[in-house]
Amino acid sequence: MTTILTVNNITKVYTMREGSVNALNEVSFAITKGDFVSITGPSGSGKTTLLLALSGLIRPTAGSIIFEEKHLEKASDKELAEFRKNNVGFVMQNFSLIPYMTAIQNVMIPLGLSGKTMIEQRELSEAVLGLVGLEDRKNHFPRELSAGQQQRVAIARALINNPTLIFADEPTGNLDPLLSTEILEFLKKINKERNITIMMVTHSPQAAEYGNTRIHLRNGTMDTLHSKETKTLTE
């Protein structure tokens, strides 16, 4: 059992003209490689802020985040970008696709910094689009795809760089229950088959069930952290 991510007492205070908000308050936990972590909590409890801090998109006000022995809170912007590029895939509630790029072009974006040739990029992207069952939609623009299909394109994009971690922020928030199940099953599948660690923020208790580790936040403070003993992937 290897620990992939360790969080020690992170605090995030947003300071604005109108005052400051304590979005995270001394949160600590450790995540094991291959975990499927679900993060729940009421709106405004700091779930998104936690994901942002873990992916280096914002810096915690205090505390440390250690990914494979590297201190992210001390890393430079450039190192953090590098970290995201090499290790992290994102799946967002709003899909975060670029509207004027086709499905395959969107999937290729993370490869833009890889130095791979266009042909290599294309082959790789087609393969991943095949994995999410969208081979035949590769030349469609996001507006020509259904919500579920758009989210699958986003998942393909998250997978293209073979990440160690996938951060998902309410990935099923804009999907109906049937499509939600489909996406969640898919996430579970890649979690198991590829041993990719997944951290998923969700509102829905059913979705949260997919996690073998649960983090519950309330007002920026961690309420509960518990792991199911029914883990299939440990040892």
């Binding site: 994901l51 942002l52 998109l57 914002i58 970008a81 590029k85 004027y100 072009q105 974006i109 910094l113």
Partner: protein
């Protein structure tokens, strides 16, 4: 996918804004290119015109200038032909050749042409009184010696000599190449000019000047046709340069009252002054477009990066560093500048093409060298105008995209 593809795909978006962003630069470059083309070509045209003149001193009526002379307006002032005789009979030395001319715009078969009356060399020389004057005597040449200042102006004496027309019958004419085409005539044909029939002795070679639209005939014939007996528009004099610096001009002024006597040097320097003014105007416009064009591009970029906040956030989220965002935006600015420069240059060429004949009296061919200049200026302005918006965009909070729900 790479940074270039990202720029390329995005360029297809919001085209109207894109076009209005580079409009100011494009227009400014267009105006400058037009001014430069016209002034460069008109400078050359003046040089060629003067070269064709076959003279380095021009005697004009008081109140006239070289432009009047070339314009050949219907009411352009004249001076008495008798002045030719005065020069010849005077004891002036250093007058190597001279040619009185009468010039008017006329209409032949519906074609607007220029009719120029000239006195052929043989008639000047054949007058006994002139033969005595030593005007065309061999010893005069020796007295003149080499003519270094003419050389530096690019007008070779040898060429000037060739220009004189040795003989021309009273009912003959010579016709410019373009005039021949427009009138659909050839050597040996006859044309009717204001009721007078003239036989075409020769179609002249193309010169690229107004001479191509000219009909040359005997001075006295032209005087009769136009009803301006005993008058000429100008007397062109080929004076030797040493003599000019020895005060030939003031001696000429003494014997030719009510005239304006200028040298090629003066005419050229007037043209140079005009061009200097044009260059200053270009410089002012350049300064204006650097500001207006730069601000306009900057403004476009600012609006563009704000609209693209989400998209920039997605790229940052995926792992693109700030430097890539900066590069993408500056590359876009460079492409816009490149397009603005090329379109501006083409616009300038078109403006010069249409306005040239009115302003400078000549057709303005494109000057390819200005294309490089246009591109360099335009790209430079575009980059400078975009630096700040791009700098800010690279520093946008990368999670903008994640917090909107």
């Amino acid at each position: 996918m790479n940074l270039f593809t990202i720029v390329w795909l995005e360029l297809g978006q919001r085209k109207t804004q894109l076009v209005s962003g580079i409009l100011a630069i494009t227009l400014g470059i267009g105006v400058i290119v037009a001014i430069r083309s016209i002034s460069v070509v008109s400078e050359k045209a003046v040089a060629v015109n003067l070269d064709n003149l076959g003279a380095n001193i021009l005697v004009l009526p008081q109140g006239a200038n070289v432009d009047n002379y070339y314009a050949a307006d219907i009411d352009a002032p004249t001076l008495p032909e008798e002045y030719v005789e005065r020069i010849v009979t005077s004891d002036l030395t250093g007058v190597d050749n001279l040619s009185p001319k009468l010039t008017r715009r006329i209409n032949i078969n519906g074609q607007k042409l220029v009719l120029t009356g000239i006195l052929p060399k043989n008639e000047l020389a054949s007058k006994p009184i002139w033969q005595n004057s030593g005007l065309f005597g061999g010893d005069l040449k020796v007295a003149c010696g080499p003519n270094p200042s003419n050389e530096t102006l690019g007008y070779k004496d040898e060429k000037l000599q060739r220009k004189s027309i040795d003989s021309l019958g009273i009912s003959d004419c010579l016709i410019g190449s373009n005039a021949a085409i427009r009138l659909k005539v050839k050597e040996g044909d006859k044309i009717i000019v204001e009721g007078t029939e003239l036989k075409i002795g020769k179609v002249l070679g193309e010169t690229g000047t107004i001479d191509d639209d000219r009909v040359f005939a005997h001075l006295h014939t032209v005087q009769n046709i136009l009803g301006i007996q005993g008058q000429v528009s100008a007397i062109e004099i080929m004076g030797c340069c040493n003599a000019i610096s020895d005060g030939l001009l003031s001696k000429l002024r003494n014997i030719l009252p009510d005239t304006k006597i200028t040298t090629i040097g003066q005419i050229v320097s007037t043209q140079i002054k005009t061009n200097k003014l044009m260059n200053q105007i270009s410089l002012i416009i350049l300064i204006i477009i650097v500001f207006v064009g730069g601000i306009s591009i900057g403004n476009y970029m600012w609006a563009n990066v704000n609209e693209r906040k989400r998209e920039i956030g997605i790229l940052r989220m995926i792992g693109y560093p700030k430097s890539s965002i900066y590069f993408v935006l500056m590359l876009k600015a460079a492409i816009m500048g490149l397009a603005g420069g090329i379109i501006g240059y083409l616009a300038g060429v078109v403006i010069a093409w249409f306005l040239g004949p009115y302003i400078a009296g000549v057709n303005i061919p494109p000057i390819p060298g200005l294309l490089i200049w246009s591109i360099v200026i335009s790209v430079f302005i575009s980059l400078v105008g975009s630096v700040l918006p791009a700098w800010f965009a690279a520093r946008f909070e990368p999670f903008t995209n994640m917090q909107e729900v």
